[in-house]
């Protein structure tokens, strides 16, 4: 059996060891590889930058802890960006499992920028019903969300009283952090195209290619895809954090996978050529 044939039958656990080493070593010894933001991340950044101070941004946390690694860094970075621009944030979620993570990130960012709950931000928690919730928000936003996670009536909070928020039409920008359905596409179909607000989003790597057509049509102004999108965004807001720390091991792990793909294909082609010669 030649070396290449042996490579074709390599134990998958050997590949796992290489991938593990490719992640562990750069996690301990920093390589500080450069991070260049992609155009769709720049568009996401510009969408928030374009809002005048005091504008209200609605952030929907549509993910669960299984997607924390990809979506929490971009959620935290979005809150930091919003508060640094003196924007008001309304948090909510169409998934029940991600609310606590998002609320924690919201309070962390608010503490860093000295923002007050009820005045500068509010977390309305999980709302069941997906598309029906979005349609309800388009008709009567405080009536659909009703109370924040602390049980306070939204209409009594300074953020709602001062900005006279009645429906999604009064929200200039909606952000959906999406790990599946309901998520970005639900917000576009039932919200954005119906009520005319601007929309940006963040999503897991698995879903990112599905949302590219929305960028082309302008239904989605900007998109953060996976940890790479989050790292690009952290670089743009000049607050390198969780995602930027992941980029060195990510790059090295990708290189290892690419090397194995090349070796596998060379082995496959050479064995096919050898079989043809024998025949």
């Amino acid at each position: 059996m030649s070396v290449l044939e042996k490579m074709m039958n390599i134990d998958r656990r050997i590949i796992f060891i290489f991938v593990a080493a490719a992640i562990v070593i750069p996690s301990i010894v920093r390589l500080n590889l450069p991070i260049k933001p992609s155009p769709m991340v720049v568009a996401y950044y510009n969408a928030i930058e374009s809002l005048p101070p005091g504008s209200v941004v609605l952030v929907s946390s549509d993910y669960d802890p299984g997607s924390k690694a990809e979506l929490l860094p971009m959620t935290l970075a979005t809150f930091r960006h919003c508060f640094s621009r003196d924007l008001k944030v309304i948090g909510m979620g169409l998934w029940p499992q991600g609310i606590d993570l998002t609320y924690k990130a919201l309070r962390q960012a608010a503490k860093e920028y000295g923002k007050k709950e009820g005045e500068d931000f509010v977390m309305c928690g999980y709302k069941a019903g997906a598309a029906f919730v979005i349609v309800g928000l388009g008709q009567d936003l405080p009536g659909t969300l009703e109370k924040d996670v602390r049980g306070r009536d939204l209409k009594s909070l300074p953020l709602f009283r001062k900005h006279n928020i009645r429906s999604l039409r009064d929200i200039p920008l909606v952000v959906s952090m999406s790990a599946g359905n309901p998520g970005i596409d639900t917000w576009i179909v039932y919200g954005r195209d119906q009520f005319g607000f601007r929309m940006i989003g963040g999503c897991t790597g698995v879903m990112a290619p599905d949302f590219y057509p929305y960028l082309n049509t302008g239904q989605l102004e900007g998109l953060l895809g996976a940890a790479k999108g989050a790292a690009d965004y952290e670089t743009l807001i000049k607050r390198p954090g969780l995602a930027c720390r992941m980029m060195d091991p990510q790059t090295v792990a990708h290189l290892v996978i690419i090397v194995f793909i090349i070796i596998g294909n060379i082995a496959l082609l050479s064995s096919a050529i050898r079989r043809r010669r024998k025949a």
């Binding site: 996690s27 010894v29 029940p96 999980y126 349609v135 179909v189 954005r192 790597g205 239904q219 996976a226």
Partner: protein, 247 residues
């Protein structure tokens, strides 16, 4: 005692020794936070032990994850939805307000869904499903056609501008041309009413290439996403559990 059992006991003993050392050395706090980190580290290692082979630690962690996940959703749904929207609305309305009777019709249809558990009366749940399907379709079809079909068609047939108003070549116009060719070729590939011969065969072959590139991009993103999840867990083990500082 089988070799695999001895190996499993050794792994557990090693994990215990490491944690005892970490707590004794003051690396991990000896409180609920430290216990949480130890449990999280143990479950992470148990889940990744599947990469070696299927084992009882993996199965325990998997079942625990599913159980806790489901329990969390139920509790969240109760306190965020059922209690405020149903129980409080009916039995403890705000002072000065009467109980909201509008809750009763959706509650009635919701309760009917539980008839699925009784085969003899399972047919009753069809009333609820009929309501959901009817309302869902009415809400979804016009919006989906508008947002996912008409808007995409509109974007595809938009006039291509090769030059910007100041006369520079617009490179995005090439992307638009490629998108139009891709849409046409892929549609031809999925057009099964005529046998793919001659020029049609070549066009559908180009369509297959477009599909393969799209699948490749999607798979690449999937790999990136999965690696990100692994990196987050590895960095948790290195920093939060073992406290190995990054340089």
């Amino acid at each position: 005692m089988r070799g695999s059992t001895i190996a499993a006991l050794c792994v557990v003993a090693l994990f215990a020794i490491v944690n005892i050392y970490l707590v004794a050395a003051g690396v991990l706090p000896a409180d609920s936070q430290g216990l949480g980190i130890i449990v999280a580290a143990g479950l992470t290692l148990a889940i990744y032990s599947f990469l070696y082979k299927d084992n009882p630690f993996y199965r325990f962690a998997e079942h625990l994850y599913v159980g806790i996940g489901m329990g969390y959703v139920i509790i969240r749904s109760y306190y965020d939805v059922i209690k405020p929207k149903v129980i409080d609305a009916l039995f403890s309305p705000p002072v000065g307000e009467s109980p909201s009777l509008l809750v009763i019709p959706p509650l009635f249809f919701g309760v009917l869904l539980f008839s699925r558990f009784f085969p003899r009366y399972a047919w009753i749940s069809r009333w609820s499903f009929a309501f959901f399907v009817g309302m869902g379709s009415g809400l979804a079809i016009p919006r989906t056609v508008k947002s996912l079909i008409m808007r995409q068609v509109e974007a595809t047939i938009r006039p291509v501008q090769f030059f910007s108003p100041i006369g520079d070549f617009n490179w995005m116009a090439l992307a638009t041309i490629i998108a139009i060719i891709g849409v046409f070729c892929v549609l031809v590939y999925f057009f099964f009413s005529i046998e793919h011969r001659g020029p049609l065969r070549n066009i559908s072959k180009v369509g297959v290439w477009f599909l393969m590139i799209a699948f490749g991009a999607a798979f690449g993103y999937t790999v990136m996403g999965r690696i990100s999840l692994l990196i987050e867990r590895v960095q948790f083990l290195l920093t939060d559990w073992l406290h190995i500082t990054m340089r």
